[in-house]
């Protein structure tokens, strides 16, 4: 593994390491210090996500962490069916060939179906199969009057043996007792605007074809002891 030198600490790479095609470059812009991740479906590349992350696809450079507090301020189109925003993390070890790996999802959303719900999930993947997760208890509904189409802060506090999800700096739920591989890997950041109804990337059934889904990000922070 080769951590990025300080000179490119804030380098992001487009797409994920297993993707054979990346989204159109026009989907990534900045304006007034806000990052816009926009995915238009369908597009010529048949790509259903606009994703950027802090690891090169060959792991030659990366920014990744073991334990800490991971937070982002962002907004998304919570009432648009098919909108699937994600602020999540995968381990560098997976890129390098590990067959048992973790996944930490700081936040995900399902536009239209769950406009007032935020999902936070931990997975254990073994040979590509989702062997363990907290999907039976991985969501919270925001208070009345809170609009997820406006900016909010989404956070995950990861300490040895414990994961606590935060919304606007308030704890929402905690998961313990997860597989040990989770704590033993180093995770890079991923920001994405995806399109997929019912958690299925590329599923446009009942969704808005020829429409765009946007995630806007003010900042992303990582804090460590």
């Amino acid at each position: 593994m080769a951590p990025s030198p300080n000179s490119i600490d804030y380098t992001w790479y487009d797409g994920l390491w297993w993707e054979t095609a990346v989204s159109p470059l026009s989907g990534m812009t900045t304006s007034n210090s806000i990052l816009n991740l926009n995915v238009t479906v369908p597009n010529s590349a048949k790509v259903y996500d606009t994703t950027m992350d802090t690891a090169a696809p060959d792991a030659s450079y990366y920014q990744a962490w073991q334990f800490g507090y991971f937070e982002a301020e962002l907004k998304w189109q919570n009432t648009s069916k098919g909108a699937w925003p994600a602020f999540w993390m995968l381990p560098v070890e997976w890129i390098e060939g590990a067959t048992t790996d973790g996944e930490l999802d700081v936040m995900e959303g399902q536009g239209g179906a769950y406009p007032n719900t935020v999902f936070g999930t931990v997975h254990e993947w073994v040979n590509g199969a989702d062997e363990w997760n907290n999907e039976s208890s991985n969501a919270f509904t925001v208070a009345s009057g809170v609009n997820l189409s406006q900016y909010h802060t989404y956070g995950l506090l990861w300490t040895p043996g414990s994961l606590t999800w935060y919304f606007d700096n308030q704890p929402m739920f905690t998961v313990t007792g997860y597989p040990s591989v989770i704590d033993n890997q180093h995770y890079y950041l991923i920001l994405a605007s995806q399109e997929g109804v019912n958690w299925t990337l590329g599923n446009t059934s009942g969704g808005k074809r020829n429409s765009s889904f946007q995630v806007q990000v003010q900042w992303v922070h990582v804090w460590q002891q």
Partner: protein
């Protein structure tokens, strides 16, 4: 589903960062320090073939 091949070219996004101090979230003790400050004041693009 995971796939083994990688896109034929890679795009490197360099996003410059503000240097302004960031406020520690109130739920974190003072032993936590900011180690990554991802802000998006500027986006440069470099193509790697």
């Amino acid at each position: 589903m995971l796939r083994s091949s990688v896109a034929p070219f890679l795009l490197l996004l360099i996003l410059t960062s503000f240097t302004a101090a960031q406020t520690r979230p109130p739920q974190l003790p003072s032993t936590y320090n900011l180690v990554f400050n991802g802000t998006f004041s500027k986006l440069n693009r470099l193509y790697l073939v």
